[in-house]
């Protein structure tokens, strides 16, 4: 049986423009000890899903179970088995790292001595010892996120919810957090992770659920999802953006389906990559169009997004942070 599961979750918000179906019959099942990536465009229902599973939001309908406990019937018991971190469950920036962790330990009712020991362990594990006694306010985003994640791990919970854990971090800090998350998963923690970085889901998640408009629209490993949207792509980068429509027309004759134009880049899905590339390039050359580069690539999760939802992944992501 799945360790974390939800069935038929619905949640509707009233907005000025009419009702918004944040969740519209969402189903998800996560096996114990695996990392599940929740991917979707902004407003797809990622954060709402995590909020329901971590007892912060009551759904209008549906059922949810976390670590064998019914979320709606016994939320208090669920809270003893989860850790949450991310854009909505934050650290207190006026407290130090140590004070934050100590407080969280006491609120899990570890007792004050055990809370102190645990805070100490986590400060070491997250490389926070030197900065442990200064208020977080003055520190980088990466450091605050580390404290935030450490806070979610105070009891080493069997289930971990991470809502966009690396948003706004520099690449190095992001890699550091990835290591921690991988380590937890290797220890058997079940992780549900939302992210706006396709690469992050690709790197961390055993399984990915793509959600859009409050529903899961595709599920599988990163490779399965990529395979599901067909084969390779021919991609051409132009010197002049104004040539894009003509090149799109040419690529469409050699590929399957419509070409995707994004700035000076034009991409089309193809059957036989080498043949299509060769003949398309010849035609572009005949038309006297200058190109920067051209090549064949495997589909990315961006293509998955585009194909499944009809829009890209990172178009208006920052809205969710408001």
């Amino acid at each position: 049986m799945a360790f974390v599961s939800a069935h038929g979750l619905t949640k509707t918000y009233r907005a000025k423009s009419g009702p918004v179906h944040a969740l519209d019959g969402l189903d998800i099942e996560i096996e114990q000890g695996t990392v599940r990536g929740l991917l979707g465009p902004n407003g797809a229902g990622k954060t709402t899903t995590v909020k329901v599973l971590s007892t912060l939001l009551r759904p209008d309908g549906g059922q949810a179970f976390v670590a064998g406990v019914d979320v709606l019937a016994d939320p208090a018991e669920v809270r003893r088995r989860i850790g949450a971190s991310g854009q909505y469950a934050a650290v207190d920036e006026r407290l130090t790292a140590r004070e934050n962790l100590l407080m969280v330990g006491r609120l899990y009712h570890l007792g004050s001595r055990r809370s102190r020991e645990r805070a100490e362990e986590l400060l070491h594990a997250f490389d926070l010892v030197e900065a442990a006694d200064r208020p977080l306010k003055g520190f980088s985003g990466g450091m605050r996120r580390r404290v935030d994640l450490a806070g979610a791990l105070v009891i080493n919970p069997p289930v971990l919810f991470l809502d966009e854990p690396t948003t706004g971090l520099d690449p190095q800090a992001r890699l550091g957090l990835w290591d921690v998350i991988r380590e937890r998963a290797a220890e058997g923690t079940t992780v549900l992770l939302t992210t706006q970085y396709l690469e992050e889901a690709d790197q961390l998640a055993d399984q990915i659920s793509v959600i859009d408009r409050g529903k899961v629209i595709a599920e599988g490993t990163a490779d399965e999802l990529k395979a599901s949207v067909g084969g390779r792509r021919v991609q051409v980068t132009l010197v002049n953006e104004s040539d894009a429509p003509r090149v799109a027309g040419i690529l469409e004759r050699h590929g399957r389906g419509p070409a995707d134009v994004s700035g000076r880049g034009v991409t089309v899905q193809v059957e036989n990559a080498t043949l299509a590339l060769r003949s398309a390039l010849a035609e572009i050359d005949d038309a006297g169009i200058d190109i920067h580069e051209a090549g064949v690539r495997r589909p990315t999760l961006d293509d998955v997004f585009l194909t499944l939802t009809g829009h890209g992944a990172v178009d208006d992501d920052m809205e969710a942070a408001q």
């Binding site: 360790f3 114990q32 000890g33 329901v52 971590s54 007892t55 912060l56 939001l57 009551r58 670590a67 064998g68 406990v69 979320v71 709606l72 939320p75 208090a76 669920v78 809270r79 003893r80 088995r81 989860i82 949450a84 854009q87 909505y88 469950a89 934050a90 650290v91 207190d92 920036e93 006026r94 407290l95 004070e99 407080m103 969280v104 006491r106 609120l107 899990y108 009712h109 570890l110 007792g111 055990r114 645990r118 208020p135 806070g151 105070v154 009891i155 080493n156 919970p157 069997p158 919810f161 220890e187 058997g188 923690t189």
Partner: protein, 282 residues
């Protein structure tokens, strides 16, 4: 507690000697300490909370001291209860803005996802401001003594007067917590507080005897709950002089009026606030 669903190797076992009551006190203590630490690191808030009463005592007693006559007493003595009341009431509004700030910053969601009592977060909030109010009352007492204010009804009544102020402020902080949970942003709250509380404290007997006000304002002032508090404290401090109390029931019986008011607020607002806090949550 059952271990079903936990991975027994890594999850940290909870303290076995726990009871729900002990957990609740732990929660209140942990969050109160957090609030006080936060306050300690906000010198602007502390500075305002302490300097404002000093400034008001000095300004009013020195500027209006000669202009406003109080029968059988003097303006400085008359003024102090008003400043006390104003200060603790404004002190309690911190509860509201901090609550709204914690919601905005995601701290409240962190608390909500932990296995703690929701009421503990709110009780801790009100306690933190209670403690801040004790500090600012102490500062005001010292300033008052310096400018010549004295209490004249004995130590017991004096202490009762201080307690009445503190408990009124504590009850009022529940109103502010409820409002803090209801507004969209801390800024909204701060503006609302200014627009509502400033007139409310000024259209009262806090700074001038209410019978000097024009009729409409005088009626408002006589029925203003802040006036009842000020009148009660003035009475307990023995700072009323020879002034007759206005002919309305709350002014004739200020102490019972304030006690009933406190009781009503405490019956209504803490449950409302807890409900608001848990709203929408599972």
């Amino acid at each position: 507690m059952t271990t079903t669903g936990m991975n027994p190797d890594t999850t940290i076992a909870l303290d076995p000697g726990r009871t729900a009551v002990r957990d609740w006190f732990t929660d209140v203590h942990a969050v109160t300490m957090r609030n006080l630490t936060r306050l300690k690191r906000s010198p602007d808030v502390i500075g305002f909370a302490l300097l404002q009463p000093i400034m008001f005592v000095l300004l009013f007693s020195q500027v209006y001291g000669g202009a406003i006559r109080v029968e059988g007493s003097n303006y400085t003595e008359f003024l102090m209860a008003g400043i006390f009341a104003q200060t603790v009431i404004f002190g309690s509004t911190i509860s509201g803005s901090y609550m709204a700030e914690d919601i905005r910053d995601g701290i409240i969601d962190r608390f909500r996802s932990l296995p703690m009592a929701p009421s503990a977060v709110l009780v801790a909030r009100s306690l933190s401001d209670f403690i801040l109010n004790i500090v600012s009352i102490t500062v005001m007492l010292c300033t008052g003594f310096l400018v010549g204010w004295r209490f004249r009804e004995g130590v017991l009544d004096f202490v009762l007067g201080l307690l009445l102020l503190l408990v009124f402020a504590w009850a009022f902080s529940w109103v502010m917590i409820f409002i803090g949970l209801s507004v969209k942003s801390p800024e909204t709250l701060n503006q609302a507080v200014f627009i509502i509380l400033f007139p409310l404290t000024f259209i009262s007997n806090a700074f001038v005897p209410s019978d000097t006000l024009p009729t409409v304002l005088r009626v408002i002032a006589e029925w203003n709950p802040i006036s009842a508090l000020v009148q009660a404290v003035r009475k307990l401090f023995g700072n009323l002089g020879d002034m007759p109390a206005p002919e309305v029931w709350p002014m004739q019986h200020p102490v019972p009026t304030v006690l009933v008011g406190i009781a009503v607020v405490l019956l209504v607002f803490p449950p409302l606030a807890v409900r608001k806090f848990r709203r929408k949550q599972v």
